[in-house]
Symmetry: D2
Subunit: 346 residues, 4 copies
């Protein structure tokens, strides 16, 4: 069976496992106060080219989003997000659980556009409405698309105009940064937003996300928030050890793993195009959405784990393939062969 359903179906990259084995019997302070966490934070600051930020390590993306948002906002403040955003549909109302409304903006490509932000702000005219105070975006988006530097700058400007925090969910940021369509560098990101996170879970760690808080207003007492949200890992050094490995040598491993996911996606995308499959989203990254007939989808199940992503016109559906740091090149080749064989199905 070929796994192309998601980018977290394996454990961790061998170097990560090695580091965990090597440090396993060390004794250290709990809750992220150990030297590995301190060191990993330094490595990240170096990589992103910014010293005056706070770094916190979390286990998973949903809890990261919940904690960042709940920490930044007063009770009546709301988040503006594209309706496809992870917080909108894949977190079982975790943000609302902390009392905050998410104002969904329509999107076809997973991105939010500056004028939508303005529209959302102006819609909320007085105290009978929630007060928009943060914009949430993902890079890459949940549809695999990418913001360009200019797009991010325009969003940032609009946020500054209306005094909104900009939060970038970087669950797959390594894939974004190593993608040939990206026209900026990791060092640009701190200047573009108030807070973001560097995802580890989807890039080859067992688990782990690194929050980078740039805006001073969002820094105080963040560790209280982490614990308050039930998100503080007892053996916090497990996060430090993994991120140390990812970000030593200026993020070499982080970039390598991201680049591999892109390379496998490029190969798969090219093959799909050759086979004449129709792309349902114009995505340059490791999430590839195609249109298949119900019969094709059914036939494919025998060979491959993919992610169904809704129905299109009658008889057709959208499915997602997702390559990752761990995808073997031969899996891509095998999948293309399978696809060729089922292509003629109605």
């Amino acid at each position: 069976m070929i796994y192309m359903g998601c980018d977290y179906s394996e454990g961790a990259a061998p170097q990560i496992i090695e580091a965990l084995i090597k440090t396993n019997m060390e004794q250290s302070e709990g809750y992220g106060m150990d030297e590995h966490c301190m060191h990993a934070a330094e490595l990240i600051k170096e990589t992103i080219g910014r010293e005056d930020c706070d770094i916190h390590f979390m286990v998973g993306g949903t809890q990261t989003n919940i904690t960042v948002i709940a920490s930044a906002l007063r009770p009546f403040e709301a988040v503006i997000a594209p309706e496809t955003g992870h917080i909108c549909r894949h977190e079982t109302g975790g943000v609302e659980a902390t009392g905050h409304k998410i104002f969904h903006m329509r999107t076809e490509d997973g991105k939010i556009h500056p004028e939508q932000i303005e529209e959302a702000v102006l819609f909320h005219s007085d105290e009978h409405f929630v007060k928009p105070k943060m914009v949430y975006i993902s890079q890459p988006t949940e549809l695999g698309t990418l913001y360009s530097l200019d797009e991010l700058k325009a969003i940032r400007s609009m946020c500054l105009k209306y005094d909104l925090y900009l939060y970038i969910d970087g669950a797959r940021l390594a894939v974004g940064l190593t993608n040939s369509a990206t026209d900026f560098d990791i060092k640009d990101i701190p200047g573009l937003c108030d807070v973001f996170y560097l995802g580890g879970t989807k890039i080859g760690m067992l688990f782990g996300e690194a929050i980078v808080i740039v805006n001073d207003k969002l820094k105080p007492d963040f560790r209280f928030m982490i614990k308050h949200c039930g998100a503080m890992l007892a053996k916090g050094r497990l996060l430090g050890v993994q991120f140390e490995e990812m970000f030593k040598d200026k993020g070499r491993l982080y970039y390598e793993l991201g680049a591999h996911a892109n390379a496998m996606a490029d190969k798969l995308r090219a093959g799909l195009a050759d086979l004449g499959f129709e792309f349902a989203v114009d995505s340059p990254t490791n999430q590839i959405f195609i249109r298949v007939s119900d019969a094709q989808a059914e036939a494919l199940k025998e060979y491959c784990v993919y992610e169904p992503d809704g129905t299109l016109d009658p008889g057709y559906q959208r499915i997602r393939f997702c390559t990752s740091w761990a995808t073997p090149e031969e899996d891509v080749e095998d999948l293309l062969e399978v696809l060729e064989s089922i292509k003629q199905k109605a």
Copy 2:
């Protein structure tokens, strides 16, 4: 430096690490829907001698407590707990974050007594008060003490009398079950409560807690609650793999690791008694509280990481030593030597 500050300063037992290495590149469903989780759940059911319960795997204890409590209660319902309970003081208000009041009961030994439950229920006379609906206890308690079977039965009876759920926090349950002072078996626990959890983090796993839901009323849609609380691990199989290792062979490893913590504690306790130290709590388990002078506490810091636990009469304080699955016997011996050498300090 001798580490006796807590039972989670190392990584995981070698067998656990081995199992993680072995399964690292397997590809599996995310979020706890994989075969390792299924298998681990079966092994736990076998060990506790109960098939008709639901098992869920969580990363940490605080998020476990939050999720269980928030799932069980309606908004105005409250938890009765001893004031030393983990949820009362070491979770940064995580339970209150979900809207529920915890009604603290005074305790000297970390335990709650049946008559206190009755007192708490009767105090809350009508709808102007919160409505007590759950009793939270830990076995062993946060002070290292243990409930006897009769005590648990009496608490259970009181809960049934007033239609209260009984929830047992088993963060260190392995230590409790393998302690010579315990007069019951793991198979007794499902019959004594509505829901409990088997702690892994403090017993030699990298992380992980296994919730066992016995009461049918608490079962529906629990996975929604886990995700809603930001507590669903993407690579859920990491929990399954670890718990499989712990509970195969009828929980052999789980018991072995618990027994080791107890053995080391027994040795340390005996040595402390021989040296004439005064025990601040009469605890039979791996958390040992003694009374030391400020000078002794200060001198000890040079050799040993322990946990300060408040001041007593002027010039004296309470400190905690905590042995674990990983404590080397020679660390206990070294610590006793150090203690002998500083004993005469005022």
Copy 3:
């Protein structure tokens, strides 16, 4: 100045004031446990033709919505509502404050359609999404439109199909029931939903809304929820006294006041049509939305308080007039005169 901005700009109908004066120095139990509340509940049960329901009195509509929804749902459960719903945009995130997501459905006429409910349910496929459990609608809607009996039955069927509660916000229900376009009776309502409320604030009471809980599952401990939400009025009998007056003689006053609002609206609507104004919504009730030029809107401000309701094409906007139980007929006439005089403005 002519007030047509809302239906709560005056105090209360004279009969209501009279009843409050008459009972002012009576001494009674607090918190809604008095005889006036008991009696008012009986009168309402009689009027709606249903004995087996629970009645609770609240001060305002927003707190009513918050309390009903928070009481009915488990933490991860969500509400489906038309995007124009009061809970979606005019309650400052009060529902989200209790932890629940509202899933907004697009609407042009303020109504939700049965197929949208189905669509919303099917979209939420598993535990990574919130779980829809309630449908919220208003009768009349916030755009002044009305559901027909068949439409309500179809919505109800869809709710039953997917095990969803149906909650009807009746802030202006008196206007709906006395409207010539309505093809059902107050006695039909309990059979069509699980819980609804009879609004008083917008129908001539100083304040007050009466919740009617039909579904047994939603009844237990509701008074705990009211107090928990900070919504229990100390001198609760003020609500009882007002609702007694409204619902004695089979709801005579309630219907009269609703009918007056409709009569004034009909007159205004006819006049607007004669003058050639374009209706922005096809509403048969006391909320009338028209399209005016910016110049007209500006000129109108001098004579009349109306509610601006967003911009349309450049140079044009939507405004709302709202008649009420208290609208003097001559105000309608005066307004029509003013409108005639400003009609020619670009």
Copy 4:
């Protein structure tokens, strides 16, 4: 039947009712943006001798407490309060519903002492605990006792030392201010705390509490919080009209009504002392707690509504009498006669 159970069993003082009648058909802006509210705020600022504060009008005390606390605190911050505080036991967990823990301090007399505040702060040593950020007290307390000016200053100093907000619940402040045991003036209060409220419900208004925000940090966006908490009254001018009446002529009516409650309490207290009843609390205000035998309590029920307040030693209980702005002098006399007649009951 003599009503001495609480101070909110009647409607409102005649002057209040008169003002409501007089303004009933005025047309005004909703939600507290009307001229009566503006004027009432000015009158209150004048009475308290402070211009630079924000005034907001609320319907009830519980919702006032919830809104003030939820607005002031970040999610992990907690309130320190005496265990008898209204927020601790008579609000059905309304504060916890907003996510905040209340740290209860033991008290015999309903008051909190400065050293308890320090103790509470020091107990919460790091991010594993909630972070105390506010002290909640009531003047008079829920046991009818009063803080002296020196006591308030000492509490205030401790709050400043640890950067805690001080919030004074003034549900019965009029009684406190007009009590002969009070050694300070209403003008002293703004300098002693960050936020307080002037209660109306228990002092002769139909309903209404006026929040006074002194600390600039607590001012921004408070109206969003009111609406978010479901606490914004549609016909807000009802609050303005009532408070105008209370605070015109420098608070003449407010003081008169408070003074009457005190006068009646003094008479009752003197009579109780003459009859030899034992006071269970040494309270100088309108809440009087005495110790009676079960037989006395039972006999008394036939003549008088009082509030039972828990059992004491076997056979004895504590009951509360509460005089109010509305208590007729002859009711006090009648009650004393009744008490004389039942005094000899075992």
